[in-house]
């Protein structure tokens, strides 16, 4: 059984249908990407999965339906979404942001240990742990957002456009981290406009266009697909 199974997911904004009945699956331990142009419905899909948007269709996680459950309960079930635009708490300090990631955990000692690991992974955050998160650069904020999500020890990590608006060097650093987290066994669903990067790090992928999935398969095959190359890889 898949860890995440989405069936016929439909999302409307007023009269506009952003997601038109898509199916997708993520197996335990996989890094799966969902690529597509801006406005294809990728972010809406993630928001639907975590209950931030009302939706039609089915979302099953670890065998149980998530439908109608509030976002905080879905988070408690082990799903962590790093939202588009990072969504850090600008007027909380770096350390407080990380503490928010561990909001549901009661094992204080282990939380401290995880915090130290995040700081080791991202020394920039360690230097700035007492600063307001709003003062961090975009890349540092992305590190913080990912670190904060990891603080909850999720079972499934949903990443929404982690490369957006970042300098190339920072994108590389973020992607190294994503791969490192995946190697440790984390299940990840990665949404990206940057198809090149996403297909490089993932094992499988879905291509989304105007609210529907148009192609799916192993990432290497997608990267070799002439349509994908023309539309998303700029060749």
């Amino acid at each position: 059984m898949s860890l995440l199974e989405v069936k016929d997911l439909k999302i409307h904004y007023g009269g506009i249908q952003a997601v038109r009945g898509i199916d997708l699956k993520v197996e335990e331990g996989e890094l799966v990407c969902l690529i597509g142009a801006n406005g294809a419905g990728k972010s809406s899909t993630l928001k639907g999965i975590v209950g931030l948007l009302p939706h039609g269709g089915q979302v099953h996680y670890a065998g149980a339906s998530l439908k109608g459950r509030p976002t905080h309960a879905i988070a408690a079930a082990g799903l962590a979404l790093v939202p588009e635009g990072r969504g850090i708490f600008a007027r909380l300090t770096v350390a407080e942001n990380l503490a928010m990631g561990a909001y549901l955990r009661r094992d204080a000692a282990a939380v401290r240990g995880d915090g130290e690991r995040i700081y080791e992974t991202f020394p920039r955050l360690a230097e700035r742990r007492g600063q307001l998160a709003g003062l961090l650069s975009g890349g540092e904020q992305q590190m913080l957002a990912i670190g904060r999500a990891l603080m909850g020890r999720p079972r499934l990590l949903l990443l929404d456009e982690p490369s957006m608006g970042l300098a190339p060097l920072m994108v590389q650093k973020i992607y190294e981290t994503i791969q490192a987290v995946a190697r440790e066994g984390m299940t990840i669903l990665l949404v990206e406009q940057n198809a090149h990067l996403a297909l490089q790090v993932s094992s499988r992928g879905y291509v989304m266009e105007s609210g529907a999935i148009t192609l799916a398969g192993p990432s290497a095959e997608l990267a070799a697909d002439p349509q994908v190359r023309a539309a998303y890889l700029g060749e």
Binding site: L52, P70, T71, G87, A90, M100, G101
Partner: protein, 309 residues
């Protein structure tokens, strides 16, 4: 000089009451961007309930020390108001959570009128006297007088505010409140039950309002079903003065407003050659509110609204 010190003391006493009420406005605004106009009425209900309990206790057990009787009133008024705050949020505001902003605002005004009328039906239109149960002593400070009651009001307010500051800045709940104020969506992603954080905010604000209601009625020696209106409006002005949504701002704004009002009342006669008297003291709060809105709309400690993340 004596007048100055005296009015400064009076202003600080009044200001610490304003600050307690202003905190309730600012915390709710911080999270929901809603001006809870019914908050002043919660203060009034606090005073009325406390007085009702005090009256009953005096009838049943007249030998109890006055301070114990007042404490009994407070101990009933605070939970009643907490329940009221919880109910207000649950019944009047939560169903409108995703409605256009005008809807909850109008609801707030309507609710405030409803609460006033309910209080009038229960307790009548007349002023209710606060019985002289509290110690009447007075102390001399720099040529001015400060009564035991005044000392007590300031001390209790400061203690409560320190406690609130600790909760908001240092506890898990406070962190969740601050996170929810910045983004309800992201807070929910962290596993925060946003609805219960919002309800808790109303409950805490209402507890502070109940305390303030008892204090203000003890201070002026009376309570009235309409008392929440002006008090609420002034506390709201104080919250705006300090920067609405900002907790330290509400504390500062409350104290400042109290002091400005008291000094204004003390000197307005001299300044206008006797043309205006101290009965114009209420004007100051709103004069200040207008000045702040013109010259610094974000308030003394408030951030520019555009800088909200």
């Amino acid at each position: 000089m004596d007048i100055f010190v005296q009015q400064l003391i009076n202003g600080l006493v009044l200001g610490s009451i304003y600050a307690l009420v202003a905190l309730g406005y600012t915390m709710v605004y911080g999270i929901l961007e809603l001006i809870n106009f019914a908050h002043g009425e919660v203060t009034m209900i606090g005073a009325m309930v406390a007085l009702a309990v005090i009256g009953a206790l005096m009838g049943v057990a007249p030998d109890l020390p006055g301070i114990v009787i007042v404490l009994g009133g407070v101990l009933v008024a605070v939970p009643v108001c907490m329940l009221l705050g919880f109910g207000i949020e649950r019944l009047a505001y939560r169903p409108l959570r995703n409605a256009p902003r005008l809807a909850p605002l109008i609801t707030a005004i309507g609710l405030s009128i409803v609460l006033q009328n309910v209080a009038m039906l229960i307790w009548g239109r007349q002023y209710i006297a606060f019985p002289p149960l509290l110690p009447q002593g007075s102390h001399e400070v720099l040529g001015a007088h400060i009564s035991t009651l005044q000392l007590f009001i300031v001390a209790l307010s400061v203690l409560v505010m320190l406690g609130l500051w600790f909760v908001v800045q240092k506890t898990r709940l406070g962190r969740a409140m601050r996170a929810t104020a910045q983004s309800r969506e992201v807070a929910a992603l962290m596993g925060v039950n946003v609805n219960s954080v919002i309800a808790t905010t109303f409950v805490i604000g209402s507890a502070l309002a109940a305390l303030a209601g008892v204090m203000v009625s003890a201070y002026y020696g009376l309570a009235h079903y309409y008392m929440g209106f002006l008090l609420g409006l002034k506390a709201f002005s104080a919250a705006v003065l300090g920067g609405i949504g900002n907790i330290a701002g509400a504390m500062l704004g409350g104290l400042l407003l109290g002091v400005i009002e008291a000094l204004g009342a003390g000197y307005i006669g001299d300044l206008t050659g006797g043309f205006l008297g101290s009965n114009y003291q209420d004007v100051f709060a709103f004069f200040i509110l207008i000045l702040v809105l013109v010259f610094r709309p974000s308030g003394l400690l408030g951030e520019r609204v555009a800088s909200r993340a």
